[in-house]
Amino acid sequence: MSTSSVVPFRILPRLTEQNREFWQGGERNELRFWRCQDCAYYIHPPQPLCPMCFSKNMGVEAVCGDATLTSFSINYQPWMPGPELPYVVAIVEMVEQPGLRLTTNLVNCPIDQIRCDMAVQVIFEHHEDADGDIWLPLFEPRHLAKNEAS
């Protein structure tokens, strides 16, 4: 499953026990975060202690994949090999919890239609890798049909 037939070059994350669920959840079309099992607070990036209740009782749970676009930047500078220019870097906030945010790319959206606070949804870009496949969570406008798992 990928957003297009040509998957752009990406520097991939090095998988660890802490980040594996986040980067590989897309295999099941799920965006997963660590979540405190005592106070239900989502924690990102992963850390061994809940910052709200200081519990170490962590689980991993999927969110629905809907988010709002907190901010964005249309990037024109060729910093490194990657997606075709220009591409859109974004910070999105998941609907489940204020402040549950990640940096991502906004895709499938004409650049003149991008607005802060617009509704977006997750879509996964699959990268095969010898160290373990990665599913990058990208986001697209929410009015588009949900991307179906293949």
Binding site: I11, P13, T70, S73, Q77, P78, L102, T103, C116
Partner: protein, 404 residues
């Protein structure tokens, strides 16, 4: 105010001398030599000798990457000058570049040293070579498919966002969205810097720039175009921080450190900071005013970090020099921040036009202006209260200087 004046010990410290090496886009010189040039110049400027220096402080300490980010560490300079120090320190995890100056103030106030040599040295221009801006990015892998992102870069690099230009652009974009800030307003930071650099013999970009030039420049990462980004360079800046009792009969009148701001209340992260229309500097700025009877209205000059234009706007708001969200209208037209305006700003040209000397350039300029040694670019009015602010994101800190 909850603190009694005796516990605000930065007031027992003063800036007594400043120095700077040659500055240029690509000098191709030994960065330690540039560092020592700046250090010797500052010691001499204060009216001291190397033997008087008994403390040393620097940001960020020795670092191999990003290339050119650190021209020398504390031990390099201690050894090169055979210093005998009662206290020394270097480090990256502090309240920005000026955190190293705050440390020095606390060291002299506590009696660990009398005269602390503080410095910041960069050679990003030479390190960048012909490879362009991208080559000085933290974490730019560039080795094809083998490189994997780890640490905090794993959350940015896979989305092709390796640069602070993009991370900070998203703050600026949020500010534009919430307050209606425009590129034409933000341009004033760049135009003002260029106008001032024309009068600075060490300025890097000294040709006039118009609003049309600014708007026509290629986009880097919206809302930042080329002229919203500072210029990597080579150069070193040094500052002497002296115990107030030892600062009295030196070459320059002491510039008292009236108050500092070092707070960090939000998450130390680019994308996890809770209010993307502000910056962590809002807490350092607020804290500074809890340590002094002076008020924002007393500030007669501001030298504030402009790694990207919008960062200067965020400092103007953080220091309460205008209301939250009002920095766009505040700088509109540029008159207010001009050398003869009510709040002269970045009078040496900032990092945008005088090179990314990384924080210390602003303190150097503040001191030169308050001593009325700034030559052609001297602010016409007498400046007795000046604010200096450096850094972006969680790396930020500020000082209020007073010439009694």
């Amino acid at each position: 105010m909850t603190l009694d004046a005796n516990s605000i010990i930065e007031r027992r410290a003063a800036i007594t001398g400043v120095g700077q090496s040659d500055v240029g886009r690509r000098l191709g010189r030994d960065p330690l030599e540039l560092t020592l040039d700046a250090c010797l110049a500052a010691i001499d400027h204060a009216g001291l000798t190397v033997a008087d220096i008994d403390g040393l402080s620097t940001y960020p300490g020795p670092m191999a990457t990003p290339a050119g980010f650190s021209g020398a560490g504390a031990y390099d300079v201690i050894d090169a000058m055979r210093l005998r120090v009662g206290w020394y320190h270097s480090g990256l995890e502090t309240s920005g570049q000026l955190g190293s100056v705050v440390d020095a103030c606390l060291a002299v106030a506590s009696g660990l040293a009398n005269h602390v040599l503080c410095f910041r040295s960069v050679y990003e221009g030479t390190a960048q070579g012909q490879a362009g801006r991208s080559s000085v990015m933290p974490g730019s892998g560039g080795d094809g498919g083998g490189f994997k992102a780890s640490g905090f870069m794993q959350w940015n690099l896979p989305f092709s966002a390796p640069s602070a230009a993009i991370w900070i652009a998203m703050f600026a974009q949020r500010h534009f969205h919430e307050y209606g800030t425009t590129r034409e307003q933000m341009a004033q930071i760049a135009l003002n810097a260029r106008k001032n650099a024309a009068l600075n013999p060490k300025g890097i970009y000294r040709d006039p720039m118009t609003m049309d030039d600014y708007l026509a420049a290629r986009m880097i990462a919206t809302p930042f175009g080329l002229f919203d980004c500072d210029a990597p360079c080579d150069g070193a800046t040094a500052v002497i921080v002296s115990r107030i009792e030892r600062a009295q009969d030196l070459r320059n009148p002491p510039l008292r450190v009236e108050a500092v701001g070092t707070a960090l209340h939000g998450r130390p992260s680019w994308d996890q900071f809770e209010d993307l229309s502000a910056m962590p500097n809002r807490d350092a700025g607020k804290q500074l005013w809890t340590r002094t009877e002076f008020k924002p209205a007393d500030v007669q000059m501001l030298q504030a970090y402009d790694g990207f234009t919008w960062l200067t706007m965020s400092w103007i708001e953080a220091l309460g020099l205008c209301g939250v969200g009002e920095s766009g209208p505040f700088i509109e037209g540029g008159d207010r921040i001009a050398r003869d305006g009510e709040l002269p700003l970045n009078t040496h040209g900032g990092q945008l036009s005088a090179g990314r000397l990384h924080g210390y350039g602003f303190l150097h300029e503040a001191a030169m202006q308050m001593w009325r040694q700034a030559g052609e670019r001297q602010i016409p009015k007498e400046v007795q209260v000046g604010a200096v602010a450096a850094g972006g994101g969680n790396t930020c800190g500020c000082l209020l200087l007073v010439r009694d």
